[in-house]
Symmetry: C2
Subunit: 570 residues, 2 copies
């Protein structure tokens, strides 16, 4: 079966649970954007995803990308689909109208990319990188560079890359050695090798715009010595630049996206932004990029769930407990408790994740559009994005892999066989736990760089906000209080124990994820129309099988804090 | 890097922790088997694994098996390695001397197969199926059949298959439709299609012996209508039999092992055992086969750990917390707490799993060799195997996948790339959660068919035995008491709630796994020589990061029991 865009569910969460149309109406930029318009855009997006992108998922994995003497040939159908995609305006959905975009809310882009990733993660990698490049050029490039590249990248006519990693420098970009030497004409010559470059070379678009981290000759070592440069595949005069794809990687999955080793051989380029500010310029869109990866997790889990759910409703195996003998010789797999539990538990993660991801998309727009008119509201929105995004990225990409694997289990041996397509989803999903900052780095980002950095105040304020939205007798109040108290204990304990926060960061992120998920489901449960088995079964699975992890995580962290106090006293 | 047989660790656990030589000395069959002999056998096994089998792991995945008009060509080197393997006597290590075997303890076979699976899971599938076939023929076949096949299968000169699954019948073998029609000469003609047949066709050995479940024409429906038949690839007169491989499956991993669709086209065959007793004959070796799969889990996790550990000690990324600046520009990945935790936690599972698996191998020999001289001891050994084997199979195959994935994470982007070989381990490992009874079926087997079937008495006795081996102040006593009490509650609650046991079986199995793992580590900790960081770091990870799951699992089950009581009262 091919992925079916879950438009009804997505719209229920966006418009009924989150009342997105009312939220957005308060922003002047979206005065003309009503629910009917948004629903129409999403319906068209769903049609494009289902008709054009989803049918290429299997060929993307089976045939994959091919390397031939510096060229990369993408799987059959990929280029046509991409050309149709950008010409229909989809990459520019929420880009600014003055740059060639449609100026629509980030929420629509979020739903679009969730569906695209679910339908065909490999293909979606190409346009998925455009948005960061667009914002980076828009906010940091010179007017000359913008004149040449901004519209092309905003519309997606030309695709873009982010060239960060080097053979010896992965998570630690400060170790990067690529060099850029200034020329008398104001350009630079850039030399070095970058690895793991998604879409470094391909045939999807007529040009490729590389954004590359490198050092000026006199730059200091470490991250503050990095500047950002723009290197096009084809120069403005049409000649080929000195950028070479030396190889594409064989990998676990994501075969539809070429992962390139890129060699820059005194390539002519231009600086983007200020010297030594390369990391800052590249990370301007970090929250948006990480939200995209979280949405990949949600989408891939939905795709795996759809396959498992369909299989469980068409195949009979053994007698389910408590069923009397029926005419059929066995009961549906969906009727067996162990399988029902797997399916309902994934729905709890998918639906709750959607609430959080769509909410984050709304907050991104508020942070952007209210910064002048209502700076307090913009700061609150920024706080949400800052704290929730690493959680979405980490917890939901992990769930895409382990929950996707659980869905595979529903198919038994057929799940392990490529024919059914679910093992591809599990393989593809695995990479999302690594890229855009590994999940462990997300956890450190959350606890060390965000929560502890302000003494826990930002998170406490966010949790207090959430608590006001829970029913008075909701069990989530106790969890929020316990998490807040634990956060205060960590704030007190960490100055004397440099390792503590790093050791418990993963547990802490999981605990925050569960509190957020619980809140999301409280919002769903309070929405008219959610009192049906469709939503209630997943909510029950959340309570029974997902939330108990909260106590375990807190127990782990509390035990570690207790150890600390003992050893501090001893 | 290529897998290094961990002989020192395995021997420490077998001989120091479990005192296997002293245990085995009490069995008259092994009067001549002392520690020096066993150590010598294991050393030779380790050399064979490292020199012959491990180097073929990557080609097994990359080239894989190829199908060509009914023939299956295994990857380059596979046939030579297999021929060397059986000619050196390895398949017959613990087979009876009168059948051509060496009559050595099952423990040695267990360590051998753990190493083989770690080195090359795909290749090891072929000999891994021999042992069940050997026992099946030995205990159920007629003297005529034994004369023709027993020695060939015992020595591994001919490989064997188990043909159970059909296109519509996976876990539920009772639905199988393959038919066998008796002939006047005492043979049968067997017709039908079997799927997921590991090694159904290949070029490793000169003949293949298929053991096939099928129905006689007058057989009743369901599992009691199944009989077992032996169908050779080549008939005794050298002619090819009517067994055809129609296809091999593309799958997530395990490309070195051909997964075949086998068509039997009125194939001449012989019945093994009694009519209608086919399932019983095939499952005679169920505990041994499931122990083998548990050992695959342990071995694959060790293989993944070795790659992650090596990578973490050779690559530097960022400054680890609490480290002052050293000469190097960054610290080793192994020094970062989040990575150290992953590595130590997998060691906790590997080492503890080894204690349990090797103990189970010793119990298998005791159950076999004491059945006449000390039936009580044999019954206790049988109880251990019956209760511990499904736990080993389920919990350790799951850990091979999720823990293997965690080890992959240590390599970051390099983990996702095929070059490093760790993603292959994760893909290969996934199948072990499915075959030989899915992990969910193991959980139902444990709770419903074993624990609840005798009112919880067998497990209570086993746990009481374990408790006597724990230090008086060990936290495991409280967990054992809580698990025993919960088991009693389930015994009382299940008669009125048909679904309850099936809904909580997975949690129950995890809780038992954690109690067993805790006991295993108490045994390690009590062993002279274990007071080193090598063992203590893993033990600490067990306490900090693994055992807290026990409370969570009990909380989940207890909440479900409470629900039951409420609804029973209402």
């Amino acid at each position: 079966m091919i992925f079916q865009p879950p438009l009804q569910d997505s719209q229920f969460i966006a418009f009924e649970v989150l009342q997105a149309d009312r939220e957005l109406a308060s922003l002047s930029s979206f005065a003309d954007v009503d629910r009917a318009l948004m629903a129409q855009v999403l319906d068209e997006a769903g049609r494009f995803v289902a008709d054009v992108v989803a049918p290429l998922q299997s060929v993307g994995d089976r045939v994959g990308c091919r390397y031939d003497q510096g060229r990369v040939i993408t799987p059959p159908g990929f280029r046509d689909a991409y050309q149709a995609f950008w010409q229909a305006g989809w990459p520019a959905l929420s880009s600014a109208p003055e740059d060639g975009g449609q100026g629509l809310p980030v929420l629509l882009e979020a739903v679009l990319y969730e569906m695209l990733s679910a339908a065909n993660h490999g293909w979606t990698m190409a346009p998925g990188l455009l948005h960061g490049a667009y914002e980076c050029i828009k906010h940091h490039a010179s007017d000359d560079l913008k004149a040449r590249y901004l519209n092309k990248v905003a519309t997606g006519e030309w695709l873009a890359t982010m060239c960060l990693t080097e053979p010896h420098a992965g998570s630690d970009l400060g170790l990067a050695r690529t060099r850029a030497v200034p020329q008398v004409d104001g350009t630079y010559r850039l030399s070095g090798t970058k690895i793991f470059i998604s879409g470094g070379e391909h045939d999807l678009s007529d040009n490729i715009v590389h954004l590359v981290l490198a050092r000026l000759p006199d730059a200091p070592p470490g991250p503050k010595g990095l500047s950002l440069f723009l290197v096009p595949k084809f120069m403005p005069d049409g000649s080929r630049s000195a950028v070479h794809c030396d190889r594409i990687e064989e990998k676990m999955g994501l075969h539809g996206s070429p992962t390139c080793v890129m060699r820059f051989d005194e390539a002519t380029c231009w600086m983007v932004g200020e010297p030594g500010r390369g990391l800052g310029a590249m990370f301007v869109m970090m929250n948006a990029a990480r939200l995209h990866v979280g949405l990949q997790g949600i989408g891939l889990l939905e795709a795996a769930w759809q396959k498992a759910q369909a299989y469980s409703l068409e195949r009979r195996q053994m007698r389910a407990p408590g069923r009397s003998k029926s005419a059929a010789e066995a009961d549906f797999i969906a009727e067996h408790p162990a399988m029902r539990r797997i399916l309902d538990t994934q729905r709890a993660w998918i639906d709750g994740g959607r609430v959080l991801a769509y909410r984050t998309a709304l907050e991104l727009d508020q942070a952007k559009h209210l910064s002048v008119t209502d700076p307090d509201a913009a700061a609150r929105a920024q706080r949400w994005c800052s704290l929730v995004t690493p959680v979405l990225k980490s917890a939901w990409t992990e769930q895409a892999f382990v929950g996707g694997s659980a869905c595979l289990q529903v198919l038994g041996g057929h799940g392990y066989v490529s024919e059914w397509g679910i093992e591809q989803i599990v393989r593809d999903a695995r990479v999302a736990m690594i890229y855009e900052g590994t999940n462990e780095i997300q956890a450190i980002d959350l606890l060390v760089r965000k929560v502890l950095a302000d003494g826990g105040q930002g998170l406490a304020a966010l949790l207090a906000d959430l608590a006001t939205q829970l029913p008075a007798d909701h069990a989530g109040h106790a969890r929020i209080q316990r998490l807040t108290a634990l956060t205060n204990a960590l704030v007190r304990a960490t100055p004397a124990d440099a390792s503590l926060a790093f050791e418990v960061a993963d547990d802490y992120l999981r605990a925050v994820a569960l509190v957020l998920l619980d809140w999301a489901w409280a919002r769903i449960a309070a929405t008219p129309g959610a009192a049906t088995p469709r939503w209630q079964d997943a909510h029950r699975a959340l309570t029974r099988h997902v939330l108990p992890e909260f106590d375990m995580r807190l127990q782990i962290i509390e035990a570690r804090c207790a150890n600390f106090h003992e050893s501090a006293v001893a």
